[in-house]
Each structure stands twice: as C-alpha cells, then as structure tokens.
Symmetry: C3
C-alpha cells in the first residue's frame, strides 16, 4: 500500500522536514483518512479520540469471552510486529506486546543495543530499515528525541513503508500514554457527562513529566476543562504550556497547596518526581512529601473524584489507597492495553470489521 504524501514535503531532506511545524506535517503520517504512523499527541483530534475510545471499549467487550479473543486473534494473524525498546520500560512494553497478541500478531523484540548490529557500526537509520524488511509494524521507545518521527519519515520514502508507533522518545512525546489517560477519564466520566466541564488537578513534577504536558495538549479537544497545577515552586509547569493554555482559552491556576487544591476536583492526576533529569541532584532539596496522597486525603476529596497516576509510582500514592474505589491507576494501566489494541487495529484499517462484530 503505497502512501500518498503531500508533494512539497516529499522533497525535503530530514533536517528540513524536522523543522516543519507539527501542524503542517501531520497529514504526512496519515493514509486514506486514518493514522498510518502514530508519533505525536497532536495527531489526535476529538473525532479520532471518540472513535478510538469506542473501538477500545468494543474490543474489551469482545475479549471477555474466549471466542471473542480467538476471533480478534485472527484479524492480524498474518502480521509481524517488532518492539524496539532500547530504553528501560516494563509497562509500555508489556502493554504493547499484549495488544499485539490480542490481535494475533507475532512479535519480535529488541530490548538492548548490545545484541544489535549497531555494535558493528550500523547507522540507526539502517537498523530500523532492517526491521521493516522483516516485519509489518515498528513500535519503538528510543532515547533520541525525534527518532520515531525520523523512522517514519525514512520508511515512508521506501517502497515498503510500514507503520511506526512512538512508544516514548526522549523527554518529548509519548502519545499513547496521553491516549490511555484520556480514555480513562472518558471511561470514568461516561455517565457524568464525559470529560467536558471537569476540573482536573495535576500534581507533582509538572516541569519535567511528559505525561502532564501531553495530557494538557489533548484536553484542548474538550470543552471547558479547568486545570489546577499543583507543584513545588521549582517544578512548576513550563511557560510553553501556559502560553498554550492561554492561547486556547483554557482556564487554569497554579498552587503549591495540594490539600486545598484537591478538595473539589473531579480528577487528581499524580506524578512521580523525575529526578533522572536532575542536573545537580536538585530534587533532594525539594520536600515532595506535600505532594503525596495517603488514606487521610481520601476523606477530603469528592466521592466521585478519581485518582490517576501514569505509574511507576514511588511514594506519591500510599498503597493503602489502592483499595479505594476512586483509585483508578491500576485500571488506567490496563486501559493502556485496550487503547493500544484499538490504535493498532485502527492503523491496519480494522475499525469496521470490529465495530460490526
């Protein structure tokens, strides 16, 4: 299936293409009105979000029965995927692998450069092109910002382009994390009017966590969502996000008082301190304990509020909270598998056959 791309973009070399603003090149990664590559949160508008959420819920329902899973497994039984994860990851890796299995794909995995031909001086571009020789889908987590985009760009120029899904690249994008967060919000507020008009507290390391960033971007697709950004002073949300919020007339406030902030919100989105990005161990001087949820907090928050976390957690949420029905992070984690299954199904054009089941 040759991919038709806009002619003006086709002629650019990589450095030129990379500099093109996102909104001018998103189409380059589509095919016939559906996603071909999944690289950026910005690829998701309200229509595709609603569609994917419906598809994920349908797949989940089908998968409740053995016959259902067995049927789903016939859909992509002829396809092979490669998981190229050379940054540590358990959750995203397993979640994608399970999604592939649910659709019947065969899976190869490369989890370390030490087993790879890069040792022999191969360029990263040749390495990913090699993957495309043997498989039908590349799902990748890479330390280099922009490398998933480069892979997609490169393969789209060959005579055998295959889809690329970004499973997290650098500090940058992690679009399927945002997708599962939003799917969880949508699911939890299903009988409460959906995500529109809700207030969400984002708590913790807002400066460096990419999930908060991506989620904020995507919530632009909903009406009248209000944000409370709760963090220590040093970890406040970046100016680029604030500009984005102001530009899109999204209401927000900032505070370092978590106990007050979480009282009347509909959702609390907790995050881990990202000290792997410390330059001089500055995280050590921060009193992060004020941004922890314990059983005490359960009494303060709304009965209908939900607590989310992208996981892994450290002490941000006491495990004693796990039993509370408002604790949504374990379900959120499992939702990742379902929405990723839906995404892959969508990329391979299975929407109709699944919806009709």
């Amino acid at each position: 299936m040759p991919v038709k791309k806009e002619d003006s973009l086709k002629k650019l070399n990589w450095d030129e293409f990379y500099k093109v603003p996102l909104n001018k090149k998103l189409n380059y990664f589509d095919e016939d009105n559906h996603l071909f590559d999944c690289l950026f949160s910005q690829q998701f508008d309200r229509k595709i979000l609603d569609h994917l959420f419906k598809l994920a819920t349908k797949i989940r329902t089908i998968a409740k029965e053995k016959e259902g899973i067995d049927w789903l497994q016939t859909l992509l039984s002829h396809k092979r995927a490669i998981l190229y994860f050379i940054q540590p990851s358990t959750r995203t890796f397993l979640s994608f692998q399970s999604a592939c299995y649910i659709l019947g794909m065969k899976v190869s995995e490369i989890r370390s450069t030490s087993t790879s031909s890069e040792l022999k001086g191969e360029s990263p571009e040749d390495t990913v092109r090699t993957f495309s020789s043997y498989t039908d889908l590349i799902i990748m987590r890479h330390f280099e910002e922009g490398f998933a985009e480069k892979t997609a760009w490169l393969l789209n120029k060959t005579n055998r382009p295959i889809p690329v899904i970004n499973g997290g690249s650098g500090k940058d994008q992690h679009p399927t994390q945002a997708l599962l967060d939003l799917y969880t919000l949508n699911w939890a507020f299903n009988d409460k009017g959906g995500i529109d008009n809700k207030t969400i507290a984002m708590v913790g390391d807002l400066k460096r966590g990419r999930t908060v960033r991506s989620l904020t971007y995507l919530l632009k697709n909903y009406k009248n969502v209000k944000f409370i950004y709760v963090s220590p002073d040093y970890l406040k949300i970046g100016d680029d996000i604030k500009k984005f919020l102001i530009k899109h007339k999204m209401e927000f406030i900032e505070t370092d008082n978590m106990n007050k902030a979480i009282k009347n919100v509909d959702a609390i989105y907790m995050t881990r301190i990202q000290d792997e990005y410390d330059i001089n161990g500055e995280s050590k001087d921060i009193d992060y304990s004020k941004f922890h949820i314990t059983k005490e907090h359960l009494k303060m928050i709304k009965k209908t509020a939900i607590i989310m976390h992208p996981l892994p957690r450290r002490q941000e949420i006491d495990p004693a909270v796990d039993d509370d029905p408002r604790a949504m992070y374990w379900r959120q984690e499992r939702n990742g598998m379902w929405i990723r299954t839906a995404l892959i199904a969508h990329i391979f054009g299975l929407d109709k056959v699944i919806s009709a089941k």
Copy 2:
C-alpha cells in the same frame, strides 16, 4: 473469577500472613478444589500428585500427533502468561515457556531488572501487580525468599487475581522441580509397583540443594520409601529434614561411602555442589570426586536402578554414562515440560476436557 479465601487469613497484613505456618494457609492458594497458585511442595498430596501425573502422561500422548498439539493449543489460546525470571535459568525458563506454548498461551518475558521500571524506583509489589494488568498467569523465579508467596497473597486481594507459579525462589522452594522428579520416579517404576517401597540414594550437596529437600518432603506421600543420604561430612542433610523424617517415620541412613550406598538402591539422585552458597570458599576443600558417577559405577548398581539429576551437572555424572538406559536425567528434564503443562492445565481447570480427549 473471584477467589474465596478463609476470612481469618484475609485480614492479616503480609508480615502476619507470612508467619502463619504453611499447613494453615495452603487453602488460601486454592480455588474450588483445585490449585490456583503453585508456591510450595507442601501443596501436593498423593491425590493431586497421582492426578497430575496421569494428566501429564495424557498430554504427552496427545502431543505425539500434530493434530493433538494443534488441539492442545486451542485450550488456552485466549490467555497470556508472563515469565518473570530475574535469576539466571535456562532449563526452568524454557521448560515453562514450552509448556505455555503447548497450551497455546502467548508469552511475555522479563529476564532482567535492567529493562524494568524497578530502575525508576517502583516497588517489587507494584511491578508484579503490573504484570497482572496485562496477563493471565505469572510464572516467576526470584532471588527473594517468599516473594512468589507475597505476589500470590497480594494479587489475591485485588479485584483481578491471576494465578502465580513459583519457578524457584531463593534457597527456598522450587515446587515444580520436585514435581518433575517425582513424576520421573513414578514413570520409571510404573510397571514395578510405583514409588512405594523403593530405596533412593540422594548423593552430593544435601545441605544446600533445595531439590533434595523438596523431594524428601513430597516422598512422605508414598509408603515405605527408604532413603540413603550420601554426602561429604560438611554437606550432610540438615537437622530440619531429619526431624521431618523421624516425625513421619520415614526410614533413612546417612553415609559418606557412595560406592557402597548405591549398590542395592532403586534410584540414585545425584546433585551438584552448590558452591554459589559458599561463605568462605569452603567447597574447595571438599573432595567431591567421591560423589561422582562414572561408567565404572554402572557395573555396581542394579540393572533396574535409575540415575537422576536435576541438572545442570558439572562432573557428578560422566557424559559417558548418558548412553546407559538407566541414565534417566535427560528424560527427567523433558518430563519437566510435560508436568508443567499439566500443572498449568490444572490451574485453568482443563483437567476434564483433556482427560476426555
């Protein structure tokens, strides 16, 4: 399938639960009269042993034909297993993976903590709970004593408990090794009256090898089995085992004279010196060569005797012995795959459908 547990145990925290004597909590890991989690050798009584052996032999027979394996693969084609093996293991890992494949399960593997979220400060408890979000069965080998039990305990408290199989934890338990040893004895003595009334020589590092320990425990389920424990003085069997033998009126003698001991026994169970547990390199001072089997020994032992070894071996058994029909260790190894397949089938309640085939 929610698991009903005894109410008194349900209220305990982990430290309390861990201290409960094994015989008072074994039921906690059952479900509807069959094993749900497989953690301890003590979970196997004569009835379940006989049942699993029969099931394993049935599966093995079915698997002789392509149609048979293809049919077996339909049984759990809708299930996903994770092999969480963060201690070195080839044999147990491959054996379990093959067992999963035989039943059609899709398999994910985590073989190193370096690819995992533990690097980001996640607790081991959260890590295993994550596995349960994506898969239907956890098979684990972990360096921490009691961690498989803790995993099962933890998951049984969630709203999505999945079975846990202990593939070896610490110096402690390795129940499926004992199971395959016993299955091999049962198989070898099938037309000689079974395991009852047999004499077994256990040879080598009896102090530190967990297989000898587990096997001794399980042989309590048989009548009138006699033991000869053969080892260098420093590596004699522990006092706890002796107490157990005496309590259950099991006949045994100890010796350091292997050549004499093996003459009239029905089975010789060889073991490797476990020098990885040395504190000050004490193994170096032991003359272990007296506890090696060579072609010379084949002339001394009974024509009907069998030679077993849990493998891997070093010099305990000369490879020249491999061709002798009494050398049973390679078959024993393959038996591990069949009995593990039976165990998984049992856990998922497939006993009847397989037996009826």
Copy 3:
C-alpha cells in the same frame, strides 16, 4: 524419526569426526534425501539450490495474501524452535525468527549466556542438549568455530535428534548468508539467463569476510562465472580460495582499482571492513574510501548491474545510492527471510505440500 548415519562415522568420537574432511561427512547431516542439519555451504549443490530458490519464491507468492500466510502458519504450528544467538546479531536473528513465525512455529530465544546455566558450570554440550529436550529445531549463532557442527553431531547420537541450523559460527561458516546471496543473484538474473556466465566483482575486506568466501564456494555450482576480487593489498582474498578457484577452473582476477573493475560487471558485491578481527588496529592504516560506492559510481556501471551488500554497512555504500533500482541490498536482506523459510520447510519435509499449493 531416527536418523540413519553411515556406520563408519558413527563410531568416531568428536575429535576424530571433526577432522574428517567435509566431503566425506556431508551425508551424515542428511536424512532421507533431504537436509536434516544445515551447517556448511558445501551441503548445497546445484539441484538443492534450484529447489530451495523455487520453494522460497513459491512461499513468497503464497504469503502475499492473508489466507496464504495463515495457511503457511498451519504447517509447523505444532513445532517449537529455539534461537540460540549468543553473538550479537539483529539481522540474522530477526530473519530466522520471522521465518519460524511464517511457518507457525513457536519460538524461544537465548541471546546471552548471562541468563543461562552455563553460569553454574554446565558444559556447552549439555546446554544444547537441554534445548533439544524442549524444542524441535535449534538455530544457533555461536562464537566457537565448529560448535554448530558439534551440536548436530552430538544430537544425532541421542535418541531424540532434532535439526540444527548454523546461523554463523566463528569466522567460519554462515551458510544461510551464502544462500540468500545466491538467491538474490538468481532472482535478479531470472530473465537474463540466470547466474551462469555472469561476472561478479567482490569488493572490500576479502581476507576476513566470511560471506565472500562462502559465496565463492557456492558459485562453483554455476557455469562460467567470472570473479573480480577488488581490495586493498592487505585485505586480498586468501590463498585457500585461490587454490579452490584454480582447482575448479573458475576464472578470476585481482585488483585494487575499484572504479575500473566495476565498469562491466553484472553484480557488485560490497563488504564492510571487518576490523573486529584486527590484531593491532591495522585497519586504521588502510584507505578504505577507495572501496566505497557513491552516486558518482552509478553513472559508471552497467544499467543492468546489481549492487549487493550483506549488511550491516558503514560507509561502503552511500545511503543516497539506496533509491537507485540497481541497489539490491535491501531486497537481498528481505530475501534472507524467504530463503530461510524455505530451508526450514525443506528440513521438515514440507516441499511437496507447499509446491502443490
């Protein structure tokens, strides 16, 4: 399926067997007129080559449709393969894994000795015998010359021999690489009279690259093929190859002038400098840039010439060359998957059922 071997060979121990000249022991690795183990390029004669190429092309055609791949996957759905790759490899590993998947095999992988029982002092022989307990096919890449042969020799003496495929051992043999190179030549010259009468330039590190060596050996099976060996003086082709060429009356010349050499050839086979075999960093003193292909060279060579490379490449071929229709290396890479699928199908005797499809 017990393998019948020549009686005189059966009695030899390994050291004796290893010394037997190749042509006297090739039959030992056959079964009923087809390959059982695939260890050496020398196992392929013209008849088997033509047969495998036809089979590969048939498989590739069948695999164009979902129904076709689904059907292929039923053929070995009852078999399990192990990929034992303890030397770095992406390409060969993925290619074989994909081949296994195409035929429906379940795959286990061991990619590092650090997860293995070799840590506990197990012999390499016991390790591979263990693989044969659980699986039906061993595909291996090992650093030790002759180890794949030893594995096949060892297993053929047991009562459960399984096929062994050599995926590269030491500096020595890499028979399936030669196979895919030849398949690509055959495919490219399909409507130009085949490989017979063609002229091939082999360029680069001819001294240490095993692909050039294997390919030369195999081209003996074709009529009137001419060779131009192009290399820096230090990296000239070995005397053993020259003796072979002279013995079989194969025409060749040697040169260090690439630009002149490639002008009128039908195929240019580029290779990477194998500096991993340097003893004192001698590669650094060699001007390898004279043995690089750039866009400039495309104007010099024949319109019908093809450019090959076993990959991975460094600077031997400028990526700008990739778009040229004569650049055949990416297709060559993918051909590896198809020919390996054909090889496995052949080993398991599926030739007829596939050809009849």
